[in-house]
């Protein structure tokens, strides 16, 4: 197995856990690899963007932190594209689609409270992302 194939598998695992709370099914993994073969240009990036992807591929938690940073400071970069691709595959493929199609139930008030909590968690991830990645971005820029 090539190192690029291993890297894509690591990404797929971390991203699927972040987005659907479970490891990817074989069909998801296969589709994720196939999409990279079909649209390679969408997933190429600069050295800093590769740092973001590499960091995100280590765990779902790191993926959240790196993506919170990417959403603000690199919104069309490869990390974002890879995550959106994974979400598209998960929402069309069983069994992950069942989880993504299921509502987060409760009364409208409870749902609203959940939304606020999710938002706060994401803000926390963003703050952590800024602390972790801003110096690396400067450093990588210098190195480039």
């Amino acid at each position: 197995m090539s190192s690029q194939g291993n890297q894509l598998r690591r990404e797929a695992h971390a991203f699927a856990r972040l987005l659907a709370g479970a490891a990817p099914a074989a069909a998801v993994l296969e589709a994720y690899l196939a999409a990279h073969r079909a649209r390679p240009a969408a997933f190429r990036g600069t050295s800093f963007q590769r740092v973001l992807v590499s960091s995100a591929s280590r765990s779902a938690f790191r993926a959240r932190v790196a993506d919170a940073y990417a959403r603000m400071f690199d919104p069309a970069g490869p990390l974002r594209c890879k995550l959106v691709l994974m979400l598209a595959i998960l929402e069309t493929t069983p069994p992950a689609h069942r989880r993504l199609d299921a509502p987060i139930g409760g009364s409208p008030a409870a749902a609203l409270l959940r939304l606020v909590l999710y938002g706060l968690r994401s803000v926390g991830s963003l703050i952590l992302g800024v602390i972790l990645f801003t110096p690396r971005r400067w450093f990588t820029r210098e190195a480039d």
């Binding site: 999409a35 959403r71 069309a76 974002r80 595959i89 493929t93 994401s122």
Partner: protein, 533 residues
């Protein structure tokens, strides 16, 4: 008995042809003729489809994953699914240019309306004031078309903007979200009518609520966007199939009509078409020619014919299209609920706003989100995608979008011409009317106020002004008028410059109201066939 060569199998072409056949004439239809795949598992809902297909990701996202809407790709919340990609495929060498306009073309059987959302909105007497015939003539066309295709609707508050006609079927079953909005409207109706001049009601759609011929009533599979697998949602290819069963009908598919040769007194003598793959040329002798290839392609055929006849640079002015703005909203009362899998996917209710004059009416189609891909929507939230996906799950059933349509007028400078550098290829130019920004802002404020009154939250900064050309309601380049000059048609759609050429599509519209014009295109084509032949 006339022999009429019809170019194009879109909404206008097929109804014009069918009316001619019913009147005993002979028809040869020249058409691009591309066809899509047969939808799999016709009894499965959208969710069941994901379970039953061997490779659902490839079906729903495309072989090359081109259906994935990546960040900053410029695509919209609702992309055309890969399954319908054939509708927009061009022949080799067909490369129109455009300025201020994003034109769409189709060389598919049924044309661009194969991808429509089935809205059928008859025009009222004010809206056809510039048209050179009485409203009753169009009304008969509406009734004929409604009988043929099946239109569902109701006599409610929107009927003040859309005349009722014979042949309306009972409306489709409402989804819970649409029902909630209509209930809320019933409670706030007086305020909305008086303060905002805003009205809500059922949309009219060409989707069957009972069986019609070999088409089945809507089974609420939630698959409209991917192509109705049981034909409940009408597309013009259904009427094309009907024409094909007629002994006086010849179909010449796989062809791109390029131009016609001109003879004495400007009469068209021969239609020249080449195969879509560019390998062969075919010629059709003409008694009568009817152009129904869509406003842009019909204009292109006329222009190319003139160029080959040595007419020099001619541009057809007055191109129109509806500006559309998408206004997303969240209905707080639907938060936390499950979205409905077994529901009609497209719009079931609509919103009408009275303008300063009846012609300034603004129409909005309200689509509540049921089955849909969420990745194009949630990626625009300002959070990491894990959080955005969770928010998507909590809000899916509460989401909706109003597609707000604005009218358009013919203006000089908005034109279809031919490229000087690249003969044979179209150049489309368009600039919005002055003051459009203020008009949009004013109207969107009213739409947002109405939505808030209906218990919805309108996220700031998320309204999306679609580019001109996106609505695909093109019209106006060879307008019908009672006493016009060059490059106009008479009330029967006959060109004043080319006496045996009829323009039976949107080319002939002298005004474009804020409504989907497809139903009127069909009704007008029927009117022309009935009055001129």
């Amino acid at each position: 008995m006339d022999h009429v060569v019809v170019v194009g199998s879109g909404a206008s072409g097929v109804h014009f042809a069918l009316s001619l056949l019913e009147r005993g004439h002979r028809v040869t239809m020249v058409d691009g003729g591309k066809r899509g795949p047969v939808p799999p598992h016709p009894d499965a809902t959208y969710t069941q489809l994901k379970e039953r297909l061997d490779d659902p990701a490839r079906y729903l996202l495309g072989e090359d994953f081109g259906g994935v809407v990546l960040p900053d790709s410029g695509e919209e919340y609702y992309g055309v699914p890969p399954e319908k990609g054939f509708i927009f495929e061009h022949p080799d060498g067909f490369a129109p240019r455009s300025h201020g306009f994003s034109p769409l073309f189709s060389f598919a059987q049924g044309g661009l309306a194969e991808a429509w959302t089935a809205g059928c909105y008859p025009l009222n007497a004010d809206e056809i004031e510039d048209f050179p015939f009485a409203h009753s003539a169009l009304q008969r066309g509406y009734e004929t078309v409604a009988r043929r295709i099946g239109v569902t609707g109701e006599d409610d508050d929107l009927a003040r903007f859309m005349p009722l006609h014979e042949g309306l079927m009972a409306p489709l079953r409402l989804d819970a979200h649409s029902e909630l909005l209509l209930d809320r409207y019933a409670k706030k109706r007086s305020w909305l009518n008086a303060r905002l001049r805003c009205y809500l009601g059922r949309t009219r759609v060409a989707t069957l609520s009972r069986d019609l011929g070999d088409r089945k009533a809507c089974a609420y599979l939630g698959r409209c966007l991917w192509g109705c697998p049981i034909g409940a949602l009408y597309t013009p290819s259904a009427t094309l199939r009907e024409c094909m069963g007629h002994p006086n009908f010849d179909y010449a598919g796989g062809l791109f009509a390029s131009h016609f040769a001109l003879g004495a007194e400007g009469r068209a003598t021969e239609l020249v078409a080449r195969s879509i793959d560019g390998t062969e040329e075919r010629r059709f002798g003409i008694d009568v020619l009817a152009l129904a290839a869509g406003t842009l392609c019909s204009s292109g055929i006329v222009l190319e014919s003139l160029r080959r006849d040595g007419a020099g640079d001619v541009a057809l002015e007055g191109l129109m299209d509806n500006r559309q703005v998408l206004v997303p909203f969240v209905n707080q009362r639907m938060l936390g609920r499950a979205f409905e899998d077994e529901a009609y996917q497209y719009h079931l209710i609509g919103l009408g706003i009275e303008g300063e004059t009846p012609r300034d009416y603004v129409h909005g189609q309200i689509t509540t989100l049921k089955t849909a891909m969420m990745h194009p929507v949630v990626q625009s939230l300002p959070f990491d995608l894990g959080t955005s996906a969770l928010i998507g799950r909590a809000t899916h059933a509460a989401l909706g979008v109003v597609n707000v349509n604005f009218n358009d007028h013919r203006r000089p400078g908005n034109s279809v011409g031919l490229s000087g550098e690249d003969p044979g290829n179209l150049v489309v130019r368009y600039a919005p009317a002055s003051g459009e920004g203020d008009r949009l802002k004013r109207t969107l404020k009213t739409v947002s106020r109405a939505l808030r009154k209906l218990g919805c939250w309108v996220p700031p900064g998320m309204s999306h002004v679609r580019p001109m050309g996106a609505s695909v309601h093109y019209a106006g380049t060879l307008p019908m008028c009672e006493n016009g000059g060059a490059w106009t048609t008479d009330p029967q759609g006959r060109s004043r410059d080319l006496p045996n050429v009829f323009l039976v599509d949107g080319c002939g519209f002298p005004f474009l109201p804020a409504k989907n014009i497809t139903f009127t295109l069909m009704a007008n084509a029927v009117r022309i066939a009935d009055s001129a032949f």
